[in-house]
């Protein structure tokens, strides 16, 4: 067993403290230690984007992030987007456009598209496709996903 460290960070707007092994990933911390299972474990090596979270306003693969590196930072997971206007619009748009099939990739896509639209609110379809190039949908429902993201600006 490796050394453990106490860390404190903002998680979905709430001050959170936890003791974690130094080799643990942020994804393992979210799911196994904090019980936030909206963030998905897909590939575990940064290929699929299912574990996408926001850290200090930028998206990262939580499977590649050391949990200890969350210390002092502002972390948002899919659960934290529930109370967020753009997050809510994206969720509604995904439902309206039938952009959810098995649903496993959906939290990652919503997190990443939230980041894409925050950086570029009027992103065209090409920008959206580039923006979500790190997210895989194994049901291959990309057309509807891109449509849902592109339309999210207008939903609601």
């Amino acid at each position: 067993m490796s050394a453990t460290v106490d860390i404190a960070f903002t998680l979905n707007g709430v001050e959170t403290s936890i003791r974690v092994p130094v080799t643990m990933s942020a994804l393992e911390m979210m799911r196994d230690a904090l019980g936030l299972t909206g963030t998905k474990y897909g590939c575990g090596e940064g290929e699929c984007g299912a574990c996408t979270i926001l850290v200090d306003g930028a998206t990262v693969n939580s499977c590649l992030l050391f949990a200890v590196d969350c210390d002092g930072r502002d972390v948002v997971t899919i659960e934290g987007l529930a109370a967020n206007p753009l997050g809510e619009r994206l969720r509604a748009s995904f439902v309206e456009h039938g952009a959810v099939q098995c649903g496993f990739c959906t939290p990652g896509f919503v997190m990443q598209s939230h980041h894409v639209l925050t950086k570029s609110p009027h992103a065209d379809a090409e920008e959206v496709r580039r923006g979500v190039e790190g997210n895989l949908c194994r049901c291959t429902g990309y057309k509807k996903i891109v449509e849902a993201i592109s339309a999210a600006e207008r939903v609601g």
């Binding site: 067993m1 490796s2 050394a3 460290v5 130094v22 080799t23 990933s25 575990g44 090596e45 940064g46 290929e47 984007g49 996408t52 930028a58 998206t59 990262v60 693969n61 499977c63 590649l64 992030l65 050391f66 200890v68 590196d69 210390d71 990443q112 980041h115 894409v116 923006g131 190039e133 790190g134 997210n135």
Partner: protein, 288 residues
């Protein structure tokens, strides 16, 4: 797995360099390479894990007397968002734009890409084109010592560099290219995103009328490290880029590259790719 006994989060270069004197320290910043390598067993942790991401002075792109210094913690997204990089070092900008995915670009750092020294490391090929130098800092007996070495001396093998265990990679420096210098980067993979280069090529030169001067060619994933291609450069230097010059440069590439067969491509296919992509890039330069 080695038991990690200590975790260090230095705030300054001096503090980090002090911590490295103990030896057996594993350094990380973005974590995008170390995390999967440690999970797969490819990388073993030292007894001490050092997170250098809180060292503010390692971040950012700074102008120097001769060009630019890119701090080790500069992320690939920082490079991609930098107007100075886009205008002054287009091959490096292109490599940053084609780098993995947004999520990985937001976390991965140029220092990490260098220190990992993958033969397919995306930023290494353009950095070779720009004759970049790697800055290493140590603190052998209290005082900080800086060693600045060319990329070609830094990269010594797959995943191997000439960085000593007590040294911290703090920056990579590039001189402003000569006036009129244009550069390009091409990466071949099976899909545009999240792909490790099958081969990559960086090309830079000053156009002097019909001729090319100051030609620099670098090739990735075709030798134990990303390499400069001196035979290709010699075949192009001072020449008009016509069919004969391109043919000579393409066949000269075989003197420079030593590709292997792996799961991404066979040795034969890598030769073909280097030939065909180099030909395509040079035809493009010839017409542009």
């Amino acid at each position: 797995m080695t038991r990690v006994e200590r975790y260090l989060v230095p705030r300054t270069i001096a503090e980090a360099a002090g911590g490295l004197r103990d030896g057996n320290v594993t350094i990380f910043a973005g974590g995008t390479d170390l995390m999967p390598q440690s999970k797969s067993g490819k990388a073993k942790f030292g007894t001490c894990l050092m997170n250098i991401r809180r060292i503010g002075e390692l971040r950012g792109i700074k102008r120097t007397a001769s060009g630019f210094s890119i701090g080790a913690l500069t992320t690939i997204t920082d490079l991609r968002d930098s107007p100075e990089i886009k205008v002054g070092f287009p091959a490096l900008w292109r490599a940053s734009d084609h780098f993995a995915s947004d999520q990985i670009r937001n976390a991965a750092t140029i220092g990490g890409n260098l220190a990992n020294a993958s033969p397919a490391g995306d930023t290494l090929v353009p950095l070779l084109v720009f004759d970049a130098r790697v800055v290493l800092v140590s603190r052998p007996n209290g005082a900080l010592q800086t060693r600045t070495i060319p990329m070609t001396e830094f990269l010594v093998g797959p995943g191997k560099t000439s960085r000593r265990p007590d040294e911290l990679l703090t920056a990579v420096e590039m001189d402003a290219p000569p006036p009129g210098f244009t550069s390009r980067f091409f990466k071949f993979g099976t899909r545009p995103a999240l792909d490790i280069s099958t081969i990559s090529i960086g090309l830079g030169a000053v156009r002097d009328g019909e001729k090319l001067r100051n030609v620099r060619v670098a090739i990735g994933a075709a030798a134990p490290t990303p390499i400069r291609a001196p035979h290709v450069e010699e075949a192009l230097e001072g020449k008009v880029v016509d069919g004969a010059t391109i043919a000579a440069a393409v066949s000269a590439a075989d003197c420079d590259i030593r590709p292997i067969s792996d799961l991404r491509a066979s040795e034969w296919y890598r030769h073909e790719l280097v030939h065909n992509m180099l030909e395509r890039m040079l035809s493009d330069v010839g017409h542009g």
